[in-house]
Structures are given as structure tokens and as C-alpha cells.
Amino acid sequence: MSAQKTYAEINAKIKAGKAVVVTAEELIALVEEKGLSKAAREVDVVTTGTFSPMCSSGVFLNFGHPAPRIKMHRVWLNDVPAYTGIAAVDAYLGAAEVPENDPLNRHHPGEFRYGGGHVIQELVERKPIRLRATAYGTDCYPRRELNTTITLDDINEAILFNPRNAYQNYNCAVNLSSRTIYTYLGVLKPNLGNAHYSTAGQLSPLLKDPHFQTIGLGTRIFLGGGIGYVAWHGTQHFPAIQKDETGRELGPAGGTLAVIGDLKQMSARWLRGTSYLGYGATLSVGIGVPIPVLNESIARWAAAKDSDLYAPVVDYGEAYPNRIPGTLGYVSYAELKSGKITVLGKEVPTAPVSSYPLAREIAQILKSWIQEGKFLLTEPVQLLPSPADGLKPKVLG
């Protein structure tokens, strides 16, 4: 008997407290122990997790009107500018924004100690935030200046909306040049001094549903410690299955998610301001996606192990910045996690920049929410583009 289940059946079991929920790590062990078919029949939901810096993140804010009213033209939160080219007291604060007087990279490498991501963290921590706005004044919105202090509870709405999160896979970055470089994948020492990678491998959400059979618009997820939803596919969503020269499949890469949720129910443990030396400020985001085991094929993909999943090794000294195509080969997440890989015949120490322990904790939390009946699965309104759609990135002229 094949393991065909529906969302409704799985949700009925969740409500009855009878659903079998395992983390992606636990599924791997179960498949090894009992075989795929048996595991697929037994398990209803697989939980995944990732905790990583995700620059394409930010929050839509509605401050409410002061008296007299204002049509904000420029707005700053703790001196970090937010975009207010939308309605009067609406703004979007981006995670990677920095104060106008930040020294940036003038003394390279810049520290980027504070930015939009840090403001978002402090909002969630209910810390007071200085709000400054200027305006040109209209008949209906006469005020020209505002200087006040807000907390997250004082304002109408704060909606986290991240246009590109949860990257399915990422390059393993190395540096072939003879100087230290400062990248969004951390500090890379010269002459292949280290190799940095950035996904949770076998726990990472999109590596577990490579053909987007279950993740789609409206999928309910763990977002920043609260509940969120998949809003759309992320920007730069170009899902594909990687292959080497011989045509051997090396696991998926290229998918991304746009996610949304109410910031007011999130927690600062899972949304943290982050500073990349020489690169910029950002926000580290915790995301967990539940995968319903509707059939055996979904279970098979969800049971992919670190040794089945690969990252391309790319030189960030020269090739990446100049968009020179090609890789220095592929390495599996099992190799990356062993602490060393071989690149161009040289042994290179590896380090992650994405937290595996926190990814594991997210998968566990999501599992317990489902087991306790607090979190039901949603059937997507529409599935996301998959590798079969063949989306390809464009090059800017």
C-alpha cells in the first residue's frame, strides 16, 4: 500500500493529537532503520529549520497619526532611514539599511555595528525606538516635523515581509587571492585559508522539497519565533537540480521564499541584528517549514542526507565579484561538516555561517507545536515554480 495522505487527513490527526511528527534529522534515521516505504506510511509531517543572516528582510510599519497629522516624507528609526514613499504614516524598514552617518567602508573593513536588522531586533525586544520624521506639509497633513519615541506596542502594525529568505542552497566561498576579503559569507583568508558555507544542509527547508511539491503560497511556517506564511516565491527564485559534468545529480539549488508575518508575535531570539565586517548590517532570521508526507516521493526527498546534498565551491577573490562562470567543484554537506574539504589539491578548513544548533532547535519547536495541536498545516493556494519550470537568472546590462 502506498502512503497517500491528504492535508485534511493530516490535520485531523494533528487535532486528535495522533499525528506522527519528526524532524528532518529524525526522518533520516527512521528511513535508515525501517526503509523508505514504511517510514513514509508512518510519518505525517517532517519539520525543517534554518537560522541564517537573510539580508532581503524588513518590516512594514504603520505608526498611526499624531495630532496634527503628518504625511511623512523622510523617516528615521534610531537614525536608520526607512522608506516612506508609500502612504502618509506607512514605512518599510530594510534589514540592510544603515544610519546616514555610518562610516561604511571608508576605513575598510567597516564594522556596520548598527542597522535596520538591529532596529527590528530592538522593536521585538520592546525597547523604545527614536522616531524622527520630516514632511513638506499639506492641507490635510500639515505637520512638518516629528520627534518622538515609540515601542512595538505603541504603533498600529508591524508586518515582517521578507522578499527573499531561506535560500535553498548556497555557494561554499573560498578566496584564491592573496589578500583577506570581507564578504557576506564572512572573513575569507587569502590563498584558500578557509572555506565558508551557509545552509543547515539536511535540516534546511528548501533542500527537503526540491520540486516544490508541498511548499507554496499560504504555507504556514515558523517565522522569527512566531507564525508566518509563505507569501510568494522569493526574488531570484531559480530552482534547479545541480549536476556535475557526468550528469550525476548533486541535489537542489536556487529556490527562495518570500515570507510574511506579524512582527508583534515574534521573538528576538529568532530575529537578530547582525554585522558583517566589511560587508554590511543585516538580520538573522529563524525559519521552519513543515513538510506534509503526502506520498512516498515527498518522503524520499525530505530524507535527503548531508551526503546527498552538495554546494558549489566558488572563488570570492576574483570569480564571484566579476561574475566569471564556473565552480571549483562540488562538495557535499557531509564533507563541509567534517571540518575540512580539498580544493585544488589543498586541504582547506571549513566553517558554517548559518547556525546548525539553532536550525535543529527550530525544527524541534515546530515539531512540538504540531504535536500539541497548536499548529495546523495549510494547503498552498498555489504551488511555487519548480525546477521543471526552468527559470533562469538574467544578467544586468
Binding site: 537560522f51 564572512g186 558583517y276 571540518g339 566553517a351 546548525y356
Partner: protein, 133 residues
Amino acid sequence: MAPKRIFLRFSADKSEQPIIYRLVKDYDLIINILKANVNPQKEGTMVLEITGDRYSEGLDYLRRQGVGVQPLIEGITRNEERCTMCGACTAICPTGALYIKRPEMEVYFKEDNCIVCQLCIKACPMRAMEVQF
């Protein structure tokens, strides 16, 4: 209050003055002189260990007298609240003081192996590694 170590630099005219005496008498500080040196140009350097509640007032006094004051780095600590165990410091740390326990992938800090090179301070994206003075 735990004792703190500071490094002082005096110009020739200051070496003559009873600055240490004032620190003890006016600011109730317990002073332990760990190193002291006066060069042929009569410029002095000194490493002090200071204990007392009015430590920062004492330091302000020294600065007002034109004495160069620099806290000595005591060591490096990890702020456990801030550390997300991402691992980004582990291939940067030259001594393995910051290391990953496998297969759990948890990041640990073994202070005994730390040589206070401070490379991790800015390389840590969460600013979890802190210098202690």
C-alpha cells in the same frame, strides 16, 4: 569588586608628583604596583592593579592630571546570550580556542587556548566575542 589592571604613562614633570598617594587617599583605592619604569628622559610607565568602588573616578583624576591611562586587556569572553553558534569565527581563530564539536555542530570557546589576538571580535557577526579590561 574585582581588581582591574591599567597601564599608565607619565611625562617627565608628572613623575615627580604624588599621584599614587592621591589615588589611595582621595579615592579609597587599593593599589598594587605590578611594574614600574622610569627611562633616562624621566618618562614613566607603570602597570597597576586597582581595587575599589571609586575606580572610574580615580581614572578620571589621572586623566585630568595629564597621565596617559589605558586599560589592559584581561582576556576575551563570549557573550553566551548573543552567540548563535553559527560557527563563522571557527576558521578565523588561529588557535582553535573557538571550535566546533561534531557532529552536533555546536560552537565552544576554550579560554585556555585563547591568545587574545582579537581576530574574532569583529569577525563575529553577532558581536558575541567581547574584550575584558
